[in-house]
């Protein structure tokens, strides 16, 4: 495991608040969390876990070509997702279902993509500035940095107006840290001092290759070499994820330049439904992370604060309903018209698209149907 002596943790696996010097620094943020936000953390983690399991089932039943599980990474995503402000922009990788849900994305749109009906297709500005998934590993880090350069050129940092100052947050995984694009994003972010938070979910496995092959040093030491302030947190601690992201985004919005967060978490399931993790990792490793489950930990904490049995029962029902609704709507999703493949290759008129669309149309018509 890649925990270090410096790993920041606010909520221990036993559900108690950590009391030490580094935790003390974030105490004002934790103390300032109201009951409703704490409940939202738990509700969202639970809802997305149920959704994630249901989507995996749909894949196994032949309804999806693929599913990308997020099981086990709920705290890293939910804490950081709630820390962003409405005007911030989020560039996900492809596993951040919880963050999308928080920002207002209908997660069935993720399912549509994995059912083979779209390549994403949502409008980021309509779903809390949650940008499309990017499947080429790490490519989105440069898009986020460029976007943050634009925010800076627009004069939207450091004005002191909390509703206007804008930050960009980009998610990526431990495997991505080996990509040139991620390292170039660090370079550009520092060159232009972009208002940006790099949020690394280190789930310890790049499909079958462990993080130890990607790096001989803790990953959060790398951006430090680029001059980017970086911190490693317990990514299964939703309070740490929230507090550290909140602080980092504030710094970015105020014009202090980029920040980096490495959230140590664990991919409890397969990389995707095409993967078989039993071929490359030991059961006892998985079991040790099961004991650090982010939702169970937070539930213990909430019970300690006096949350009622009714609350947990309600959340469980809400999660089940959410998953059932996603299933119902998935089964109703139909493929788009074949001609749609030509519609948006270019935004302006294009003779080849016109000709090939027309060819397909007349070819289909030649079979004498009513196409």
């Amino acid at each position: 495991m890649s925990h270090t002596a410096e790993t920041l943790q606010l909520l221990a696996p036993d559900g108690r608040l950590v009391e030490n010097e580094s935790a003390e620094r974030y105490k004002p943020i934790v103390d300032g969390l109201d009951e409703s936000l704490l409940q939202s953390f738990h509700r969202t983690m639970s809802v997305i876990r149920a959704f994630d399991i249901e989507a995996g089932n749909l894949q196994r039943q032949g309804q999806l070509a693929l599913w990308i599980p997020s099981l086990g990474q709920e705290a890293a995503q939910v804490g950081s997702g709630y820390a962003a402000r409405p005007q911030d922009h989020i560039f996900p990788a492809y596993r951040e279902h919880a963050v999308g849900h928080i920002r207002g994305l209908d997660v069935v749109q993720i399912i549509a993509m994995l059912r083979g009906l779209s390549h994403g297709g949502w409008v980021p500005e309509e779903v809390g500035n949650f940008h499309l998934y990017t499947l080429v590993i790490g490519s989105q880090t440069l898009h986020a940095t460029g976007y943050a350069m634009g925010v800076q050129f627009d004069g939207l940092i450091g004005t002191g107006d909390a509703d206007r100052d804008t930050a960009v947050m980009v998610y990526f995984g431990d495997g991505a840290t080996s990509q040139g694009d991620v390292n170039e994003a660090f370079v550009f972010a520092q060159s232009y001092r972009t208002p940006q938070v790099f949020f690394l979910q280190n789930n310890h496995w790049a499909i079958s290759v462990p993080v130890s092959v990607q790096s001989r040093t803790p990953l959060f030491h790398r951006p430090a070499g680029f001059g980017i302030p970086s911190v490693q947190i317990d990514g299964n601690d939703v309070l740490a994820s929230y507090a550290v992201t909140l602080e980092s985004l504030d710094a970015a919005r105020s014009g202090e330049g980029p920040r980096f967060i490495e959230a140590l978490t664990y991919r409890m399931g397969a990389h995707t439904t095409s993967d078989d993790p039993t071929k490359y990792r030991a059961d006892d490793e998985v079991e040790s992370w099961r004991r650090r489950d982010p939702i169970a930990r937070f539930e213990t904490y909430l019970r300690g604060l006096g949350a009622s049995e009714t609350f947990f029962a309600d959340v469980a029902q809400e999660a089940a309903d959410f998953a059932a609704d996603a299933r119902r709507r998935t089964l109703a999703l139909e493929p788009p018209a074949a001609e749609s493949m030509f519609a948006h290759v270019y935004s302006e008129q294009h003779p080849l698209m016109d000709a090939q669309r027309e060819w397909l149309r007349s070819y289909e018509a030649s079979f004498g149907g009513d196409a």
């Binding site: 779209s118 409008v123 940095t145 994003a185 550009f188 948006h344």
Partner: protein, 363 residues
């Protein structure tokens, strides 16, 4: 060259982090790199591109130039000379030396509403940015189902005839012409360079803008009043009756030289300047082939799986009964671009073009 410019124009060199350049603000000041007034000026392509970029920067505050050494140096070919002085460091941006980083951040800037114009220093250095261009830039409008536009221009000095070292003389346009979602154009004259760069920047689609570097320095007329033709139109630039020859970029002037020589020997060659490689405007070419019955396609790039191959296939499909001979390709060899002392043997020249014409006429 300065006699062609409006030297009396005041220079407004805003260098602050947020203050916009004064260009186009109606205050009467005009950056010196702009060519003002109308009429026809005779300038080199590099200067025409410079003035076209200045015009685009002045016309739209969202236009940004980014690339390596494009600021105080003005680019290794001086195409961006004085533009940072005239429009400021926030509009003409020197970047770290990383092509994927340049293209990837340009994509993010375009998402934010900017219109970035990236300079790739040399043809052979585009490949570190190939992934961002082909997997991201080319596909983002489709991935967003049309809600996102990608008005990014990537300028690429390309081609041989300059005696340079490895990676500095190549013609990699086929990779990009093969990629759906990209547009690809290449001017052959200062006039087209001046107008096509502005039209490429105004396009809401990503445009690969291939600049024939051996044509940067010869002067030619630029009509400042009108481009006279659409960005993606091909154009017959010399009328003839016996054989049609088609090419793009630096090849066009060579085709015209070949036509002049052939005329002395009694062969009438029609020359078509392709101008756009994606999409290709076939109608003028097909109309020409229907009259001449013969076609020679010429390019500096290797011939295999190339733009020339595509043209040969398409013309064979669409003008089969007009053809008196197979379509002949004249191209670079299917080898790596050789050391510069061998480029004369590698690159098509007037003699190789005329040899192709002879072969077309031999059927």
């Amino acid at each position: 060259m300065t006699d062609t410019l409006d030297a009396s124009a005041a220079v407004s060199a805003a260098t602050g982090a947020t203050a916009p350049a004064a260009a186009g603000d109606g205050a009467g000041a005009s950056p010196a790199s702009l060519i003002t007034g109308g009429g026809v000026r005779t300038i080199p392509m590099a200067k025409a591109l410079n003035a076209g970029l200045a015009a685009a920067l002045a016309a739209d505050q969202k236009v940004l130039l980014m690339g390596e050494d494009i600021g105080p140096l003005g680019g290794v070919f001086r195409v961006t000379e004085n533009l940072q002085r005239d429009f400021g460091g926030h509009r003409v941006i020197d970047t770290p030396l990383a092509e994927s980083g340049i293209v990837g951040t340009a994509i993010g800037l375009a998402m934010r509403g900017y219109r970035p114009v990236c300079e790739i220093q040399f043809d052979g250095f585009i490949f570190p940015g190939f992934d961002q261009i082909t997997t991201q830039l080319a596909k983002l409008t489709a991935r967003h189902e049309g809600s996102l536009r990608m008005p990014v221009v990537i300028r690429v000095p390309y081609g041989g005839h300059i005696g340079a070292v490895e990676h500095h003389q190549e013609s990699p346009e086929a990779y990009f012409a093969h990629t759906p979602g990209l547009r690809l154009v290449s001017p052959a004259t200062p006039h087209d360079a001046y107008w096509m760069i502005q039209e490429a920047i105004a396009s809401d689609d990503p445009v690969l803008f291939f600049e024939p570097k051996s044509r940067y320095w010869p002067k030619g007329p630029v009509d400042l009043d009108s481009s006279g033709i659409a960005l993606h139109a091909s154009r017959v630039v010399r009328r003839g009756t016996d054989v049609t020859v088609v090419g793009h970029g630096a090849m066009v002037s060579m085709l015209l030289d070949a036509a002049t020589l052939a005329e002395e020997e009694g062969t009438s060659i029609e020359v078509v300047d392709l101008r756009s490689l994606s999409p290709i405007d076939y109608e003028p070419l097909l109309e020409s082939v229907r009259r001449t019955g013969r076609l020679v396609v010429a390019q500096e790039a290797p011939g295999g799986v190339s733009v020339g191959s595509e043209i040969a296939a398409t013309v064979s499909e669409r003008a089969f009964f007009s053809l008196e001979a197979p379509v002949i390709r004249v191209s670079g060899f299917d080898t790596p671009f050789p050391p510069a002392k061998l480029e004369g043997a590698y690159l098509p020249d007037v003699d190789r073009i005329l040899d192709g014409v002879d072969r077309a006429l031999s059927y």
